[in-house]
Structures are given as C-alpha cells and as structure tokens.
C-alpha cells in the first residue's frame, strides 16, 4: 500500500514538475572549485540555467565513483528528470540506475556505453591540441617540448598525438618529451615532472592536470606553456601562449532543449552521442576566453615560418586559417588525416583517410616525435 501511494505521489510529482520546470541534476566527481574538470562542468550548468528560463538544476560535488548510485537514488526521489553524470567512472552506476528508473533520462560524460535512456557526451580537444602544437613547434628553441600527462588512456594519448603532429608540422625534428604522473590532480607530481623536463631541456609545455602548476613552474624558468581546461593566462601572463578551454554549456543547453521539446525521450537515446569539437563551439583555443593567442606572442608566431604544400607560410596565419576552417560547419581539415605512421613506423591512418570516431576513441599508438614511456603501446 505504501509503495503504491509512493508511486502515485511520484507520478503526480513528475506530472507537476513537467508542467512547470525541467529539473536537471549533476553528479560531480571533484570539488566545483578545482579550476579544472568539475569547475568547467559547473560553469556549464550555471550557463545553461541562465540561458534556459524553464530549467532548474541541482548538483552534488565530490561524489566518489562507488557512491554514485545512492546519489542518483536521491536525485530521482527529488524529482530530477535529467541526470548528468560527469565522470567516466560512473558508467556502471549510470547503467544500473537507468534500468532501475526507465523514465529518467541520463547523460554520461566521456561514457562509451549507451541505453534507451542513457546518452553519452564529450567535448574533445584534439583539434585544439594540434593548433597549440603548431605554436609550440614554432616557439621551442631547443626542439624539446615537454608534456606532463595524467593517465595513459586513449583520450590523453589522442591529445598528445595531435599536439605532437602539430609540433612536427612546424619543426620536423622536434621531440615531445612525455612524463606520466598517473593522476588527474596532483600538483606536487606536476611540479616535479615539469622540473624534470626543464632539466632535460624542454622549453615549451603542455599538460593534462587540473591545476596551473605546470604553467607556474615553467614560467619561473622562462618557458612557454599552454593552459588546460580553464583559462590560465592569469597564472603567467608573460608565458602562457594559448590553451584548451571547454564550453560544456553548449552541450548541456542543446541536450536539455531537445529534452524539453520532446525530441529526446527516455526511449530513444541509444544512439545519442555528442563528440563535440571546434565546429560545435564546445571547445575553444585560448589563453583566455576570446584570446586565441596571447597578444604578447603573436609577433613571434607571425615571424615563424612553416612549409605547407611546398609553400612557406607564417605559423600564425596557418593556426588562424585552420582554426577558422575547423570552426566552420563543414571543416575540410582534420589533424588525423593520413598518411600517418606511428613512432614505430606502422601505418595507422592510410593516405587520404581521416581517423574514424572509433579510431579516435581507441587510440593507443604514439605519433613520431613522442619520446618517453608509453604504456599500452601496440607492438
């Protein structure tokens, strides 16, 4: 009897909620102030709420991956109609909850498994990394570019490869020295890894870690760097050249609008996968919002030359042209266009072909120019 009453109340509640506001709830893996991943998602949530008057949001931060299910239970009880799970590690919890609550819509960031009521989404940086790689290749005097990397997973490897392809397009002899810290957040490791790379001659830095530590450390020794995830120009105004910036709000707004319009329901998400790039405006190349390249370094990049199709062009012009192209609705350029061999000489992308989404998502090989340990490298 109590259960039936509960169900009736729940149904009434849902009906009422649907007539009024759409309630979207977010599960965050880290604290919202981490200046990295979770911070960026929370900015997205806030912007979506500001843009959509009919939207109501709620979030729970610092949810360990094993604790996701109870949080989802609570969200459903509170009447959440759309639940965004923002960490790869929530996958099993999301799929289980999706079965338990077939009328609730789930969206799983960086996920690889879908269901009728589970969509997946990702804002990916690989194009931006390529553009930043071009700049890094032009700015390095030693020909050694440092990369402090989080975990050896396909996502990070894809970014390092794209970055290295960019570096090599400008300086075919340059090396990208990679150091793994095996953590998304660990300022001490990021600091010492940067110091190690500096002592080996690296003079330009890119990284995947959730703090500006690499930037601050590099700047102390006068080395250039590229920010990651959020605008990091303010941490070293003279040394940050550009960086990768995410706009999750673009995906959140699009997704929620379609839910509101009834295009997305709890029955048709099986094939809904956002892999959004520059053309969708889900990511941005920048030292800060709206600053693709720090004006202080523009003259250097204008002076630097590279060869494209047998012709000399300025690196700055090349970056701007490619960025414009990849931001257009139908980009013609893609960094992973063959012929591309890996660093062992195996052809990974044949001439004239572009890497497929599947190839991008499962990338394990290392591009030529990558120097250092590469766990999981194919033989």
């Amino acid at each position: 009897m109590r259960r039936i009453l509960g169900l009736v109340l729940l149904a009434l509640g849902l009906a009422w909620a649907q007539g009024d506001k759409l309630k979207a709830c977010f599960i965050y893996v880290g604290p919202i102030g981490d200046a990295g991943w979770t911070y960026a998602h929370d900015q997205g949530r806030k912007k979506a709420e500001a843009a959509l008057p009919w939207l109501e949001t709620r979030y729970v931060e610092s949810v360990p991956e094993a604790q996701a299910l109870p949080v989802i239970d609570r969200f459903v009880k509170e009447g959440c109609q759309v639940i965004f799970a923002t960490s790869f590690g929530y996958m099993e919890a999301v799929l289980e909850a999706a079965k338990k609550y077939p009328n609730v819509i789930f969206a799983h960031a960086t996920g690889i498994k879908r269901a009728p009521n589970v969509a997946t989404y990702m804002a990916d940086f690989y194009q931006v990394y390529y553009l930043n790689g071009l700049a890094a290749g032009a700015l390095s005097k030693t020909g050694k570019v440092g990369y402090v990397a989080a975990f050896p997973i396909p996502e990070v490897k894809r970014h390092i490869n794209a970055f290295t392809l960019g570096v090599r397009a400008v300086n075919p002899k340059a090396q990208v020295l990679v150091r793994w810290i095996n953590a998304w957040y660990d300022p001490a490791k990021a600091r010492e890894a940067t110091e190690a790379l500096l002592s080996q001659g690296a003079d330009v830095f890119a990284f995947t870690e959730d703090t500006p530590t690499v930037i601050q450390t590099a700047a102390k020794k006068g080395a250039y760097s590229f920010g990651h995830y959020t605008p990091m120009l303010k941490f070293a105004p003279n040394h940050v050249v550009s960086g990768q910036i995410v706009h999750w709000d673009v995906i959140y707004i699009d997704f929620l609008k379609r839910v509101k319009e009834g295009v997305y329901t709890a029955k048709n998400l099986e094939n809904v996968d956002y892999f959004w790039l520059l053309q969708h405006k889900a990511v941005e190349m920048g030292a800060d919002y709206g600053v693709p390249i720090n004006p202080k370094h523009v003259p250097l990049l204008q002076k630097a030359q590279m060869t494209v199709g047998g012709k000399k062009v300025s690196v700055y012009d090349r970056i701007m042209a490619l960025m414009k192209d990849m931001q257009s609705p139908k980009p013609t350029f893609d960094p992973f266009t063959g012929p591309i061999q890996d660093r062992k000489g195996v052809v990974r992308i044949p001439a004239g072909k572009k890497a497929t989404l599947q190839e991008l998502l499962s990338m394990e090989w290392a591009a030529p120019g990558v120097v250092g340990d590469w766990p999981g490298e194919p033989k």
Binding site: P31, I32, G33, D34, A35, Y39, P152, L177, V178, R179, W180, I181, N182, Y185, D186, P187, A188, K189, R191, E192, A193, E195, A196, L197, S199, Q200, T211, P212, T213, Q216, T230, K234, F235, V371, G372, D373, P375
Partner: protein, 277 residues
C-alpha cells in the same frame, strides 16, 4: 645532477618541516596523526592572509594556525586523555574538510607575491639543527625526553608532563604550519583543495624512519625528495613502467626502514598520562 640535488632539498623541505613538528611532539609521547589536516589549514590561512596583507604575514598566519591546531589536539590528546591516534586522525580529516570548505573563494587565484623556496629550505635546515641541539644537548631537552620516556618519573621530579606536551604540540604545530605555508606561498604558489596530497602522511612515516632523530629526518626528507624527482627525470630513459616509478619513492623508503633496523620509539609514545593511575 645539481638540478636533482636542488629538487631533493626543495621538495624535501615541506616534508622535513612537518616531520620535525611531528617528531617533537612524539619525543614527549604524543603521536600526532593530524599533520595532513594541519598542513592543509595552515596552507589556506597562509594563502588567504598573504593575499590581503602580504606574504610575510601570510607565513606567520600559517605558523599561527599550526600552533593553534597543535594546542587544539592537546586538549583531546593531553587534557582529556583521548586516544591519540583517533584524535589525530579526526584532526586530519577535519583539517582537510574544513580547508576545502573555507578555501573555495581562493581556488584558481594566483598569488600576488610568492616567497622564495630557498628561504624556507634554509629555515627548515636551521630548525632541524636547533631541534637536534634542543633535544640532545640542552637541559630542557632532557625534560622533553623524560616526559616521552617515563612521564611518571618526570612528574615525580616536578616536571609538568601536560605542560611539556602542550609546549611540544604548539612548537611542533608551528613547524607543521610552516610546512603548509611553504606549499601555498612558495612551492605552488596558490591554493587548491587537497594540495597537501599526502605529504603529511609521508612526514609521519619519516619520523619513524628517522628514528626520532632530527638530523636523520633531514637526510630522509631529502632522500624522498630526490626519489620523487627522479621518478620523472628517469621515466622514459630507463625501461621501467611509469607506474613502477611512481611507487619507487615509497618502496625505497620502506626498504631503508627495514634495513636500518628497529629504531627505539619513546617509551611512553601514544600513552595518555594520568597522574592518578
């Protein structure tokens, strides 16, 4: 090579400072497992004050918070005779949680005027020497040690056991606070939740590794700093997987610990003193 030695000292410094702080109180018989939380809160206080009033006052604020938290632990571990391990763990959790909560507005903000790391490193070395002399070469050190070895006897000789323990916790807390200030004012220099990243626990382990001797703590801290740096310096040039490298500093420390033989802990370590019993 020079680079490696410099990193050994500069990364070893916060571990050394925190370790000296824990060592001092352990010498009087009080285990301090709250180091991680104390460092986190001190780092935050140092950063917050430094933003408002300059880095020197910031460093002082870090030390002050450390002293306060040392005394705070004393209320439970000395006066109330609570289980020292539980009280310390509670303080560690409290400090980490509270710093995360209070520090939200300082996340993602660069520090206007960082302090030089080298200054802290020299200070830490000086403190280690001073502590060595204090413990082993001064009359006061004798009181300190007697409280840690045999509080009953010390009490009979008119030494205030609780007073000495409070003093050691306060002074030690100040050093732990300085370690926190180093992280947020010099090493990083900025504040993020969880920025102590386990260094407090390393410092506690180092006390045992050093056999409760300040000068050995210096070597231990620098050794750890060196290994921590080398895991990245050697990664890729030696055919060892990066995950194994990441474990290396901890493994080698355990190995040294095992090989160095059993150091003798202060006899009354971890035992609350109750005159009536």
């Amino acid at each position: 090579m020079e680079e490696a030695l410099l990193r050994a000292v500069l990364f070893g410094t916060p571990i050394l400072l925190a370790s000296l702080g824990a060592l001092l109180s352990e010498r009087t018989g009080v285990v301090n497992l709250g180091v991680e939380g104390m460092m986190a809160l001190s780092a935050l206080a140092a950063f917050a004050v430094a933003q408002e009033a300059g880095p020197a006052l910031g460093a002082l604020a870090g030390v002050g918070v450390g002293v306060f938290l040392g005394l705070f632990l004393g209320v439970f571990a000395v006066s109330l005779r609570a289980n020292q391990f539980v009280a310390g763990l509670a303080l560690a959790a409290l400090g980490l949680g509270a710093s995360g909560l209070l520090g939200k507005r300082y996340e993602g903000v660069p520090l206007a005027h960082p302090l030089p790391e080298e200054g802290f490193a020299l200070l830490a070395l000086g403190l280690a020497l001073a502590l060595h002399y204090l413990l082993l070469g001064s009359r006061f050190g004798l009181y300190l040690r007697s409280v840690g070895e045999n509080p009953k006897a010390a009490d009979l000789f008119g030494v205030s056991v609780d007073g000495v323990r409070y003093l050691a916790l306060a002074l030690g807390g100040g050093m732990i606070g300085l370690a926190g200030a180093y992280l947020s004012l010099a090493y990083r220099p900025s504040w993020t939740d969880g920025m102590t990243s386990g260094l407090g626990w390393v410092a506690i382990a180092l006390v045992i590794l050093a056999g409760w001797q300040p000068l050995r703590a210096v070597l231990g801290a620098y050794f750890f700093g060196l290994l921590f740096f080398l895991q990245f310096r050697l990664q890729g040039s030696v055919p060892i997987p990066s995950e194994a490298f990441a474990a290396m500093p901890y493994l080698l420390v355990i190995l040294v610990l095992a090989l160095s033989g059993r150091a003798r802990a202060p006899k009354a370590l971890g035992q609350p003193f109750d005159r009536g019993r």
